[in-house]
C-alpha cells in the first residue's frame, strides 16, 4: 500500500529514480533489452555531442580537410555581431512568447479548474493548437499576418507584421503564444488539481477572498510547477527554428534570426562547420546548466510532495 502510493505519487511527479532491487535474475538480460535503443542514443546523440566539441576546434568546409585552430572559433564569436544579434533575438523571442503564454495558460486553467458548462470542449479547443503541424501553421500564419491579411483586417489596423524589423519578432511570437498557451494550460491544470481541496476550503472558511487565496495558497503551492514551466520555455526558445525559417527567413535585416537558425546557416548554408559547432557547444553548455537546475527542481517537487 505504502509502496503503491509512493509509486503513484512519483508517477504524478513525472520522475522517479529507479527502485533499488527488483527481482533477482540473470544480470545481462535486462541490460540486453535496453541495448538496442541505447545504441541509437550513443550513435546519434552522445557521439554528436562529443563530436561537436571536436569540430568546434577546427575550420572545416566539407571539401578541404579540417585544420586544427584551437579555441579560435570561440574567440571569434565573442566579437561576432551576428552571434550576439542571434542571442538577442532568441532571448527576445523567449520573453515575448513565454510570459504571455504563461499568463494566458494560467488564466484559462483557473477558469477551467472547477466544473463549468463545456469544460472538456473548452480544454480541447485551447489545447488543439499545440498539436497541429507547426510548419503548416507557420506558413498559414505568415498569410494571416500579411499587410492585407485577416488579423490586420479584423483589428482594423495595418501593421506590416513580418516585413518590419520593429514588429517581425512580435509577429512570430504571436504564433508562439497561440501554440503554447494551451500547453501551459494543461500543465497548470494538473498543478491546480494537485492542490488539496481541504486547503482552499479551509482558507475560504477563514474568510480569504479569491485574490488572497490566489496569493497565499495557489501561487506559492504552484511554485515548483512554475519552475518547470520556465525551464521548458527557455529550452523552447533555444530550439525555435521553423517559425523564423519559414515566416521571415530570419529577416528583415536578420532581426528574427534565432541562435538555432544561425547554427543552421553558418554550418549548412555557409559551410563554416567549426564556427557552427562552436555555437552549438555554447548552446549545449547552456542546456547542460539548465538540466542540472531542472533535475534540482524535480527534487524540490519530491520534497514538497504535494
Amino acid at each position: 500500500m505504502a509502496v503503491d502510493t509512493a509509486r503513484a505519487r512519483s508517477k504524478l511527479l513525472g520522475l522517479s529514480l529507479p527502485r533499488r532491487g527488483g527481482p533477482a535474475t540473470n544480470e545481462s538480460t535486462g541490460l540486453l533489452f535496453t541495448l538496442p535503443i541505447i545504441f541509437l542514443f550513443v550513435a546519434f546523440n552522445l557521439l554528436p555531442t562529443v563530436y561537436a566539441f571536436v569540430v568546434s576546434l577546427t575550420t572545416y568546409n566539407l571539401f578541404t580537410p579540417p585544420t586544427f585552430v584551437g579555441f579560435e572559433n570561440y574567440l571569434d564569436l565573442l566579437g561576432n555581431r551576428n552571434f550576439w544579434q542571434a542571442v538577442g533575438v532568441t532571448v527576445g523571442y523567449t520573453l515575448l512568447f513565454g510570459p504571455a503564454s504563461w499568463i494566458l495558460g494560467f488564466l484559462i486553467a483557473m477558469l477551467l479548474k472547477d466544473t463549468i458548462v463545456g469544460r472538456d470542449l473548452f480544454r480541447s479547443v485551447f489545447f488543439v493548437p499545440t498539436i497541429l503541424s507547426s510548419v503548416a501553421m507557420a506558413v498559414t500564419w505568415a498569410l494571416l499576418l500579411r499587410l492585407n491579411g485577416p488579423i490586420n483586417g479584423v483589428l482594423d489596423i495595418s501593421v506590416p507584421w513580418l516585413t518590419n524589423t520593429q514588429t517581425a519578432l512580435l509577429g512570430i511570437s504571436l504564433l508562439g503564444i497561440w501554440q503554447s498557451a494551451g500547453w501551459f494550460m494543461v500543465i497548470f491544470l494538473a498543478g491546480l488539481a494537485s492542490i488539496p481541496e481541504s486547503l482552499t476550503e479551509a482558507a475560504r472558511i477563514d474568510g480569504a477572498g479569491t485574490l488572497a487565496l490566489l496569493r497565499h495558497i495557489t501561487l506559492p503551492l504552484l511554485r515548483p510547477v512554475f519552475a518547470v514551466v520556465v525551464v521548458q520555455t527557455i529550452v523552447a526558445g533555444l530550439r525555435v527554428f521553423s517559425p523564423m525559417f519559414i515566416m521571415t527567413g530570419g529577416g528583415p535585416a536578420n532581426s528574427t534570426r534565432s541562435v538555432a537558425m544561425l547554427i543552421y546557416q553558418e554550418g549548412l548554408r555557409d559551410l563554416r562547420m567549426g564556427s557552427a559547432a562552436a555555437i552549438s557547444v555554447i548552446g549545449f553548455v547552456f542546456i547542460l546548466a539548465l538540466t542540472v537546475i531542472y533535475f534540482r527542481v524535480f527534487r524540490v517537487r519530491e520534497e514538497i510532495g504535494y
Binding site: L31, T34, I37, P48, T49, Y51, L189, V235, I287
Partner: protein, 278 residues
Amino acid sequence: MARSKWLRRQSTNLVRLAVLLALAAVTLFPLAWIVTGSLKPLEQVFAIPVQWVPDPIQPQNYPDAIQATDFSRPLLNSVIVTSSQVAINLVLCSLAGFGFAKYRFRGREQLFLGVLAMTLLPLQVIMIPLFLIVKGLGWVNTYQGLILPTAASAFGVFFMRQYISTIPSDYVDAARVDGASELTIFRKVVIPQCIPALVTLGVMVGLSSWDEFLWPLIVVGGRELATAPLAMAQLRSLYQTPFHFILAVAVVMVIPPLLAFLFAQRQIIQSVSQTGIK
C-alpha cells in the same frame, strides 16, 4: 442569504463562461480562416471583412491543390517516416522499459539517468556533427538517414519504464517459474498489459515525428524524399502557389494530428500533464 450566494455564484459562472468563449473565439479564429479559405475561390481569400462562408464552396480546391503542388509524394514520405519511427519506438522503448523496470543490472541507475538526460538534448545543438556523421555513413538523402538518427525517443523509454513498473512482478516471476524464456515473458506477459501505454506512446511519437522539420531539411537533398513539412515550407518560399491551394494543403497536413487527438485526447493530455515533456 443562501439564495444571494447562489445568485452570486451563477453570475461569476456567467462571467467565466463569457471570458472563456471570447478566448475560444480568438483561438479558433486562425483555424476558421484557414479552413474556410481552403474552400474559397482565390479572390475571396483575403476579402476584408472576412468572408466566413465561401461562395461558391469549392471542395475541388483539395484535389487541385495536391496535384498542383505535387504533394502526394511528400505525404507518402511523411507517412513512411512517421510510421517507421512509431514502430521503432513501440518495440525499442517497451524492451528498454522492461529491462529498466524488471531487471537488476550493474549501472542500471546511471544508464537510466543518461537516457533521461537525452530528453533535454535538442537536435538544434547537435545538428552539425549529426549531419557530418550521417554524411560519413553515406546516408544523406536516404530513408535510413531520414528515419534513424532522430528516431529514438528518450521520453518513450522513461514512459514505458514507469508503466511497466506498475505491473506486479509476480506475473513475471510466475511465467519464469513456468519455464518461459525472458523474451517470451516480454511478448506474452508484459506487452499485453501495456496496450494503453503503447497507444499513448505511439500517438506522442507520431505527433512529433509528423511535425519534424529541421532534420529532414538538413538530410534531404532533392524532391524525392521531401516530407510533407519540407514540401509545405517550399510552397511558402516559392511564392508561386495560389493562396487557397496553400491553405488546402495546410488543412490536409493538419488532419492526421487532429484525428490522433480526437482518438487519444485523454492520453495525450494526461501524458503532457504528467511529464511536461512531449
